[in-house]
């Protein structure tokens, strides 16, 4: 069989792209804050979300390690048979496509809302798609190498944005804690887990790690680091904006506009915008790579890099038609979209583990009788 993707990535690159994958919504809409009725408890939901995601990430990596050199699309067909396996592959493909549509529209809306309201939204989306298609066409190695660099830029910009508005921070804004009960935590947890369910892409990346046995460790690091970045964002936003933190469309961008040091160190929002653009481009190119590899494996193709530009065109077109506005997109991402992603990721994993269990039992019986 032809090897579709010949590239190999290191554990650190794997971790970096996973963190970038999760941090994109943090830099743009940050649904955890916008979807919370009482923002004081959002940092707690981040911790709960990370605690739930670690077992999920571990289960996906462990399953991938049982099938060395095979992606989730390939071993789904081994475990569930060619028909059900392919159907599951199509569902995963749809999830990847939906995520790429969401972030393309998200970045376009963010640009239009924040800085260039007169420019047509598709101008930003087309540029983003071309950039990501070009990176994805160059293969996984290039995307992940870029992803590692973007990760450092992203962490630097985020930490700068969290720390520098210290003059405006009032930590008493974080109180009261859990005053509205545990039920108040549910909406942000759903939004958080919805984004974390995109870690299903681990199933596509593990076979291309130069040391696949490190995958579990680095997947856990990715959840922990992204969790810390989000918890700090939640604390900084609530400390600065208080209970009204959930009313901002682009919270982190608004936070960066608060930065003013000695009347000369200002306009840091440009750095936040750079972080948006770079991280969204990396996430989109990773998703384009995953989508085209999925299509190639589902239809037994020998090459997949040719599919990038048509995929980019489809993504831009669908992202224009899927949502009516930023409000529509935000509501979908935090609620129905998040819930459907959680269900798909959870059920996919449950189905694959159930099939693995049945396969192991049958093999043991056959081995015992033989």
């Amino acid at each position: 069989m032809t090897v579709l993707e010949g590239g190999k990535i290191s554990g650190r690159q794997f971790m970096a792209v996973l963190i970038v994958l999760r941090a994109v919504p943090l830099t743009l809409v940050f649904s955890l804050i916008s979807n919370a009725n009482h923002v004081q408890d959002v940092w707690i939901t981040v911790i709960i979300g990370a605690a739930v995601t670690i077992p999920f990430a571990v289960l996906v990596t462990k399953l991938s390690l049982k099938f060395p050199g095979k992606t989730i699309i390939e071993y789904s067909q081994i475990l569930l048979g060619p028909v059900i396996g392919r159907l599951l592959g199509l569902v995963i493909l749809w999830c990847f496509l939906c995520t790429s549509i969401d972030i393309t529209r998200g970045l376009g809306e963010a640009y239009v809302i924040a800085i260039m309201p007169e420019t047509p939204i598709y101008a930003f989306m087309i540029m983003l798609a071309i950039m990501s298609c070009y990176a994805a066409r160059s293969g996984l190695e290039v995307t992940c190498r870029l992803g590692e660099d973007v990760f450092y830029v992203l962490v630097f910009v985020l930490l700068l944005t969290y720390m520098l508005p210290y003059n405006a921070m009032r930590f008493e804004n974080l109180r009261p804690i859990l005053a509205w009960g545990v039920s108040n935590l549910v909406p942000p947890i759903v939004a958080n887990l919805g984004y974390y369910s995109q870690f299903l892409v681990i199933g596509m990346l593990v076979p291309y790690l130069n040391k696949p046995e490190d995958a579990t460790r680095y997947a856990i690091y990715a959840v922990l680091i992204s969790g810390v970045l989000m918890a700090l964002a939640a604390v900084a936003l609530v400390a600065v904006f208080g209970p009204t933190a959930n009313s901002w469309t682009l919270p982190l961008f608004s936070l960066s506009r608060m930065i003013s040091l000695g009347d000369f160190f200002e306009r840091i929002e440009a750095a936040v915008m750079a972080a948006w653009t770079l991280s969204t481009a990396i996430k989109l190119s990773l998703l384009f790579w995953a989508i085209s590899l999925t299509i190639a494996q589902l239809f037994n193709l020998k090459a997949f890099e040719h599919l990038m530009y048509p995929l980019g065109a489809i993504t831009v077109a669908l992202s224009l038609s899927f949502f009516e506005s930023m409000v529509d997109l935000e509501d979908f991402l935090a609620k129905a979209g998040a819930m459907s992603s959680i269900l798909v990721a959870g059920l996919t994993l449950a189905l694959l583990y159930a099939a693995l269990g049945v396969r192991t039992v049958i093999r043991r019986r056959k081995g015992g009788s033989g």
Partner: protein, 79 residues
């Protein structure tokens, strides 16, 4: 109409960029998948350029997920 002409130009460029490479390698199945995706992308883009309202699966997903979300106490203002 100008947008449609521009779209035809863009998609022709994508075709001219990729098709010779695919043909050179004799990858017929790849050509079929590539052409299908390109035609789909082109059709969607033209429909959007002509402002034809396209059905959005977002509404369907919302309707499907709303009962579960309501059970969890999450209310959406959009339907």
């Amino acid at each position: 109409m100008a947008t449609v002409i521009l779209l035809i130009a863009v998609f022709t460029v994508i075709g001219l960029f990729e098709v010779p490479k695919i043909l050179k390698k004799g990858l017929w199945r790849e050509l079929l998948v590539f052409s299908s995706l390109l035609i789909l992308g082109f059709t969607l883009s033209v429909l959007i350029a002509l402002e034809v309202p396209l059905p959005s699966p977002v509404k369907g997903i919302r309707n499907l997920m709303n009962p579960i979300l309501r059970l969890l106490g999450i209310h959406t203002h959009l339907s």
